[in-house]
C-alpha cells in the first residue's frame, strides 16, 4: 500500500487538495438543494439524491483535510517515524474517501433501480465495501468499483434523457460520464501519476457541469416563482 503515497506528482501537491475542496463544496450545494426540494415536495428521490451527494461531499472533505494534513506532515518529516505518521493520515484520508464515496455511489445506483426496498441499497454498499476490504490493491479496487457503479448510473441517465430530451439532464448525464472517465483514469495512477492529475481534471469538469445544471435550475426556478401555476 506504500505506493498510494506517490500517486500524486509532487508539483500537483496542494492543487489536488484545492480541487477536492471545490468538489466538496459543489456536491454539498447539490445536497442542500436536494433537501430543500424534499422539504417542498416530500419526494423520496430528492431526499435520497441529497443523501448521496452529502456522502460524496463528506468523502471529498475528509480526503482533502486528511490529505492536506498528511502533506504538511510529510514536508516537515525528518525521521522515518514522522514519515510513517504522515502515511497514516494519508491512509485515513483515502479510507474515509473510499467509505463515503462508495456510500454515495451505492445510493445513486440504488435510485436507478426504482425499488423502494432500502435493503437493496445496503446490499450494494456492503458488497462494494467487502470487495474493497478483500482486495489486495484497495485503491484500484475502489476506483474500479466506482467505474462499475457509474456505468449503471450512466445507462439509466441515457434512458432518462432519451425519454425527456431535457437539456439540463444532458448536463447531468455529461457530468456522470466525466466522473466515470475520471475514476477510470485514477485506476492507472499508481503506475503513472499523471493519471492522477488527469483524473482530477476530468472530475473537475464533471462537477462544473453539475454546478451549471444547478445554477440553471435556480435561475429557472426564480423566473417560475413570478408565475404561480
Amino acid at each position: 500500500m506504500g505506493h498510494i503515497l506517490y500517486c500524486s506528482p509532487r508539483w500537483f501537491y496542494g492543487y489536488d487538495i484545492i480541487l477536492e475542496i471545490v468538489f466538496a463544496i459543489i456536491t454539498f450545494a447539490v445536497a442542500m438543494y436536494s433537501f430543500r426540494i424534499y422539504r417542498l415536495s416530500g419526494q423520496r428521490d430528492s431526499r435520497l439524491f441529497g443523501f448521496a451527494f452529502l456522502l460524496i461531499s463528506a468523502s471529498y472533505s475528509l480526503w482533502a483535510i486528511l490529505n492536506g494534513f498528511a502533506v504538511s506532515q510529510l514536508e516537515s518529516a525528518r525521521t522515518i517515524l514522522e514519515l510513517e505518521r504522515a502515511n497514516i493520515w494519508r491512509y485515513l484520508g483515502i479510507y474515509a474517501h473510499i467509505l463515503f464515496f462508495l456510500g454515495g455511489m451505492s445510493t445513486l445506483t440504488y435510485m436507478t433501480f426504482k425499488n423502494k426496498n432500502a435493503r437493496l441499497c445496503s446490499l450494494i454498499f456492503v458488497l462494494a465495501l467487502t470487495a474493497v476490504i478483500l482486495a489486495e490493491q484497495k485503491y484500484i479496487a475502489t476506483y474500479l468499483l466506482s467505474v462499475i457503479l457509474l456505468f449503471y448510473i450512466i445507462i439509466e441517465y441515457i434512458n432518462r434523457y432519451s425519454a425527456s430530451k431535457n437539456k439540463n439532464l444532458l448536463l447531468t448525464l455529461g457530468a456522470f460520464i466525466f466522473l466515470f472517465l475520471g475514476r477510470f483514469e485514477f485506476i492507472f495512477s499508481p503506475s503513472q501519476n499523471i493519471f492522477y492529475v488527469i483524473g482530477h481534471i476530468l472530475e473537475f469538469t464533471a462537477y462544473i457541469l453539475i454546478l451549471a445544471s444547478l445554477i440553471t435550475v435556480i435561475k429557472q426556478g426564480n423566473k417560475g416563482k413570478r408565475f404561480i401555476p
Partner: protein, 92 residues
C-alpha cells in the same frame, strides 16, 4: 392524445383545485376536477395528508379537505421543484 401526467403534475392539479375553491373542497369535487379514478384519488389524498400538504376536516355532510401552508408552498415553488427533478433525473 394528451401526455400522461406525472406524479408531481397530479399533486399540483389536486392542490390547485383545492386552492381555487378558496382552500376548502369536498372529495367529490376533487374527483371531478382532478380527472383521477376513485382509487387513485384516495391514494393521492392519503399521500398529500402524509406530506402535510392538505388536511381532512369534518363537515356537516361528510368531510372536506383544506390546503395547508406547506401545500401552498408547493404550488408557489412548483417550477423550482420540477426543474430540479427533471434536471437531475429524479422522480418516484
Amino acid at each position: 392524445m394528451e401526455k400522461k401526467r406525472n406524479k408531481l403534475e397530479i399533486i399540483r392539479d389536486i392542490l390547485k383545485v383545492i386552492r381555487e375553491r378558496n382552500g376548502k373542497i369536498k372529495p367529490t369535487h376533487i374527483l371531478y376536477k382532478s380527472n383521477l379514478s376513485h382509487q387513485m384519488m384516495g391514494d393521492y389524498l392519503k399521500e398529500l395528508m402524509g406530506k402535510g400538504f392538505i388536511k381532512e376536516i369534518k363537515v356537516k355532510r361528510g368531510k372536506s379537505y383544506i390546503i395547508t401552508d406547506k401545500g401552498l408552498d408547493y404550488l408557489n415553488q412548483y417550477a423550482l421543484i420540477t426543474n430540479f427533478t427533471s434536471s437531475f433525473g429524479l422522480g418516484e
